[in-house]
Amino acid sequence: MADIPHEASVSAPPAEIEEMELPHAHGWWSTHVFSQDAKVIAVQYAATALAIGAVALVLSWLIRLQLGFPGVFEFIDSERYYQFITMHGMIMVVYLLTALFLGGFGNYLIPLMIGARDMVFPYANMLSYWVYLLAVLVLVVSFFVPGGPTGAGWTLYPPQAILSNTPGQQFGIVLMLVSLILFIAGFTMGGLNYTVTVLQARTRGMTLMRMPLTVWGIFVATIMALLAFPALFVAAVMMLFDKLLGTSFFMPTLVEFGEQLSYGGGSPILFQHLFWFFGHPEVYIVALPAFGIVSDLISTHARRNIFGYRMMVWAIVIIGALSFIVWAHHMYVSGMHPYFGFFFATTTLIIAVPTAIKVYNWVLTLWRGDIHFTPPMLFALGFIVTFVNGGLSGLFLGNVVVDVPLSDTMFVVAHFHMVMGVAPILVIFGAIYHWYPKVTGRMLDDAMAKFHFWVTFLGAYLIFFPMHYIGLMGAPRRYFESSDILLMPESAHALNAFISIMAFIVGFAQIVFVFNLLWSWKHGKEAGGNPWRATSLEWQTPETPPGHGNWGKELPVVYRWAYDYSVPGAAEDFIPQNQPATVTKEAPA
């Protein structure tokens, strides 16, 4: 085992365990539908996530119609408005981002990048997708039941969430909770798979410290999700009991319409702790895969080794660990004991340090690089701008006193959209432009990609940067009617209208992206096996798209890290991971 990641070796250790037998498909259904091949499952996950994501996009338009042009669109009443914001938030965070990064990219990339033939538990992996699909369907059904989906806000805070005066109080909230429970069950099957596969199925020579950062990001995020989702699972089950059986886990004595309800003795704050014990790690469950992927995009397209690989790995691990002790920074004004503020503000701002290190190392990878402005690189650069912006506004909200006026305002909405909406989604786009050629064997169209990038990146920045200032004025979030707030000047309404128009433009630009995905599948330029001249293993497969079992007869053997770009003395500006060091190789720097 090489102690220094960037030192290549001439030989690889022998295999420790025998290769396992792969399940083989025996017909059309088991090849394309009920497939146990991680690559097929990945595409199923990604397609489902993007489809439900399209619903969330339309919901965001409806939200912006109301905020930009209050009163103009009469079909948007307050009930519907709260349903739109709730479902938009929940879909984006859980059903799109989490599912796409872990179920989509995780399934596709982990086995290929570590030189495995598949996930270690292919059957459970298949089941994971179908349970996820069921969760999505239950969520979709809630749009069509009497009363519609829940409008409790994506945080589902009790007592509000299960009482009247919240839309979807009868069926919507129940379906929401059931859907979350299913999602978590499905994710757990997939998540255990990703973790064990990384630990156990790496090919010869692929030490942990030679893994591409994409795998590190997804690996740590998966472990975090396995530890964080159970808190949400418990909270969802208890709230279901409160709703259906009349228990009072989260329900204190309270009065509704002047009527005493039979609840009593429960704690609404307990729910908030459980929710955010999941909810904060969730931010990094989305962010860490994005961090990993963007590292690889930048390195590949700047033809330069990722700067400070070991720091990058440790930063991922430290961020993952710290993110479990910062959750109550979402609750500074919740009424919890105010002394918690000292602790959680401190831990929260400490996280800024490893996060900043990651940013520096991306930037230092560009420095003295050989930067190709390919679509994946453009999106990666867009990520840096939006992530730095959103990360820095997090320092406002993490610092407890600064949070007090800003909490629950549009500043928060702007912050989290920038940092965990726009930034990771730009990475998703970059990643799709990067790996689509491997998945399909064809390139996505470059001109459409660039149009998509410019409109999405600039549009999103113009939407969310000014939005911070609306919150700074004091405009609360989740306001159906904010145009009559006394402190809002007329000019702020013009700004809201501008933001809404930008949201429509950015949304429509996504049609170009979807068209590109469909069109290039058949008509894209042939990609060949390694169009980006990249080092990592997924680009070294004998076939493109990779066949069942990924590697043909022989597993690849790894001799070096994934970042041997522009190595002095090498014939090409990249050396694949499965190329051994020559004995006469010059001493590394």
Partner: protein, 263 residues
Amino acid sequence: MILAVIMVLIVIGSVLFHFLSPWWFTPLASNWGYIDDTTVLTFGITGVVFSAVVLFVAYCLWKFRHREGRKAAYEPENKRLESILTALTAGGVIAMLTPGLFVWAQFVDVPDEAANVEVIGQQWLWSYRLPGADGQLGAADNRLIGIDNTLGINPDDPASQDDLVIEGGELLLPVDRPVRFLLRSVDVLHDFYVPEFRAKMDMIPGSVTYFWVTPTKTGTYEILCAELCGTGHSYMRGMVTVVTQEEYDEWLTTQVTFADLTS
């Protein structure tokens, strides 16, 4: 290449927007100027970091763009550079966190002389209760809420009788006198938020939460509910007017007591 120019424009545009746009904090009307100061300090530090990082990226994009024959430098690690940057970041974080925690210590430490004002939230109305001549608020409990006792005030507590009850009306506060808001809810979560005071806190049925503030400027300010409380959330508004002590004392004499209401 164009992206390098765009990034420079993003930095310039963002900084100009920050200084030239009309959208900023509403004029402060309380003692929490320190919160504004910490916010401005945070804007300063984060603004410099944002500009520096993005401008450096723009420089790299221009300087190290691909040209025929160009080759990237191979440099896996640079311990010294990484350490310096880590130390600088830690310094910046400490510079923001330290004043933040000092101000928080003040925020959580209610002055002894602060006057109690109870705020009760319900869908979608603000009510208030002020201690009467005895200077004490009587006990209250959601279990006691009924048709003739909508705020759940304990009628058996002698301290309750002279409490002043303001249901759904306007709240007045004397200027320059610290106030401790005691926050209750009869139904769901609410949040008592007056943007001009800068402070806010959630209200939880079954608990009493609090924060304190000293209004420093006379005038009328809007109270907003800042925690989603159902379909009428955005209509849950109220008014608080900060007045001189004399006006305040006179206003007090016109309010009804709990005893008046129940008799």
